[in-house]
């Protein structure tokens, strides 16, 4: 497996992922990003550069937050339909798009404890376009069934659910989620990977498109925006990340 080679390709994996997620959110009204999500934050900032009427919220970044009613306002906004996109991740993600942010193994005495579910159990139901993002693509992350469902990928028909997972972005692939059959479908493999390699690293089965294509490489314009204005803004949201930034200079 090779993936992106910065020397050959002229961009890094992180830049590719930010750009892919930026493309998926361009043109939306209000994109929100949770804490600890530097690449989704870069994506939202890029989407705003590409569609200037887009409103963005980056939790934990005073410069990118316009809420004035405390920690609950984001959630109240989501329930009212005032958010269009949000990013979630998982310690485990399964083929039905269930995500686990709590623990591996037993709940009471787990083999491995993650920080917690945060807003996922709620926002997954209410934000129309949820993008699942996990850079690492391995069978350890992408499992058949998660050990703990922090937030369910699908719901019975009688459950009020205007939102849900729409895409999954990793270092190896972009997938789309179809809530009908409750299954992922491969959209593109990332540059430098094959579908065979992807299948080997994925613990669940997914549907295939008629023809397997590769994610279009970042354009010069996208890279310039990411390395210029987006990066300048990102410093305010993620000082440590920006200091040790793994986006190319």
């Amino acid at each position: 497996m090779s993936g992106v080679d910065p020397a050959r390709d002229g961009y890094t994996t992180e830049e590719l992922l930010a750009i892919v997620m930026g493309r998926l959110t361009t043109g939306l009204g209000h994109i929100a990003v949770g804490a600890l999500s530097p690449l989704p934050a870069a994506a939202a900032l890029l989407a705003r550069e590409l569609s200037p009427r887009t409103e963005i919220t980056i939790l934990g970044s005073p410069r990118h937050m316009r809420f004035t009613d405390g920690g609950r306002e984001l959630f109240d906004c989501a329930a009212q339909g005032r958010l269009d996109a949000f990013f979630l991740s998982g310690g485990q993600i399964d083929g039905q798009a269930n995500i686990n942010l709590v623990a591996i193994g037993d709940y009471v005495k787990p083999k491995r404890r993650f920080p917690g579910s945060f807003g996922s159990a709620y926002l997954y139901h209410l934000v129309p376009k949820v993008i699942l993002f996990r850079q690492e693509h391995s069978p350890r992350v992408f499992v058949e069934h998660v050990d703990f469902v922090s937030a369910a990928g699908t719901s019975p028909r009688n459950v009020y659910r205007p939102g849900g997972p729409k895409h999954l972005v990793t270092e190896m692939a972009v997938m789309d989620f179809d809530a009908g059959p409750g299954r992922f479908r491969l959209n593109t493999v990332q540059p430098g990977y094959t579908e065979a390699e992807l299948r080997k690293q994925t613990g669940f089965t997914y549907a295939l498109p008629a023809e397997v294509r590769t994610t279009p490489a970042p354009t010069a314009e996208e890279l310039a925006l990411l390395r210029g204005p987006v990066r300048e803004e990102l410093v305010h949201a993620y000082p440590k990340f920006a200091r040790e930034a793994y986006l190319a200079p």
């Binding site: 600890l36 934990g60 709590v102 623990a103 159990a121 709620y122 369910a152 719901s155 009020y160």
Partner: protein
């Protein structure tokens, strides 16, 4: 008018009883670290910590020091500094009773307490294993619409709300500005203990600009002037950044319980 001011954070938390439920602020808001050290010094035990809705260094310190019995939260981590080492270790050893939540459920539970109602309905959550671990969360049919299941969250009424704020005046009014989750905590809790950066000369309630972000004194039990009371965390109302080297040193030391104990002893001294 009762004098709410106390001389030190130790006096501020002196009568927090073992087993109390304590609501604490998230790292982006006003975290009372100096008062947390005071809780550790007084060897508080079996605290039911309620993170509103998440916590970081504060929870990790209290857990590592053996002060916490129940951890109720939507998450605990150290933000950009990674996993909270003592929290992670204690849960993995089965030494901490977890009451996992999701952010809006904690806000909603406090809002129910604020309104004096027993519960509040909340969207989402259905299908999550959180419902299995939280038998106190119920699912009912929306009485106003046919076949519409919805989750009920019981009121969260903490014994104590503990946080750090920018300003208080001599009458005991506390200014939190847009950090309104602190106001929610004060409204919901039986008692509110606050450390502040500075004393405001004058009455915070007479200036409409400041009054909008002010918790009236009748919600506030005790106040301690403690500039820098959130360090080494940042304090955004004062434009303070987190002390990264200090937190990194903590993370390195707290990987093991012995390392944590040594680090804590030095830090409390």
């Amino acid at each position: 008018m009762p004098d709410r001011y106390c001389s030190t954070p130790d006096v501020l938390v002196a009568d927090v009883a073992d087993g109390s439920s304590i609501a604490v602020a998230p790292d982006y808001s006003g975290v009372a670290i100096a008062a947390t050290r005071a809780l550790i010094r007084k060897q508080a035990r079996r605290l039911h910590l309620i993170a509103v809705p998440q916590s970081g260094l504060q929870a990790d310190l209290l857990i590592g020091a053996g002060c916490v019995g129940i951890m109720e939260c939507a998450g605990v981590n150290l933000g950009e500094f990674g996993l909270a080492p003592r929290f992670t270790d204690w849960v993995q050893q089965g030494r901490l009773t977890m009451r996992d939540a999701t952010c809006p459920a904690i806000h909603a539970g406090l809002q129910a307490a604020e309104k004096g109602v027993p519960f509040i309905p909340l969207r989402g959550i259905l299908g999550s294993d959180l419902l299995n671990e939280r038998p106190d969360w119920r699912v009912i049919d929306n009485p106003y619409q046919h076949d519409d299941p919805i989750v009920l969250i019981p009121a969260i009424k903490p014994d104590v709300a503990l946080f750090h704020a920018a300003l208080a005046d001599r009458a005991g009014n506390v200014w939190v500005g847009i950090r309104r989750e602190l106001m929610l905590m004060a409204h919901a809790a039986r008692r509110t203990l606050v450390t502040v950066e500075a004393i405001h000369d004058g009455d915070l309630l007479t200036d409409p600009t400041l009054a909008a972000g002010t918790i009236p004194a009748f919600y506030v039990s005790r106040i301690c002037l403690e500039p820098g009371g959130m360090r080494p965390l940042g304090f955004s109302p004062a434009g303070e950044q987190a002390d990264a080297p200090m937190i990194e040193a903590y993370v390195a030391a707290a990987r093991t319980q012995a390392g944590f104990d040594a680090h804590l002893a030095e830090w409390l001294a």
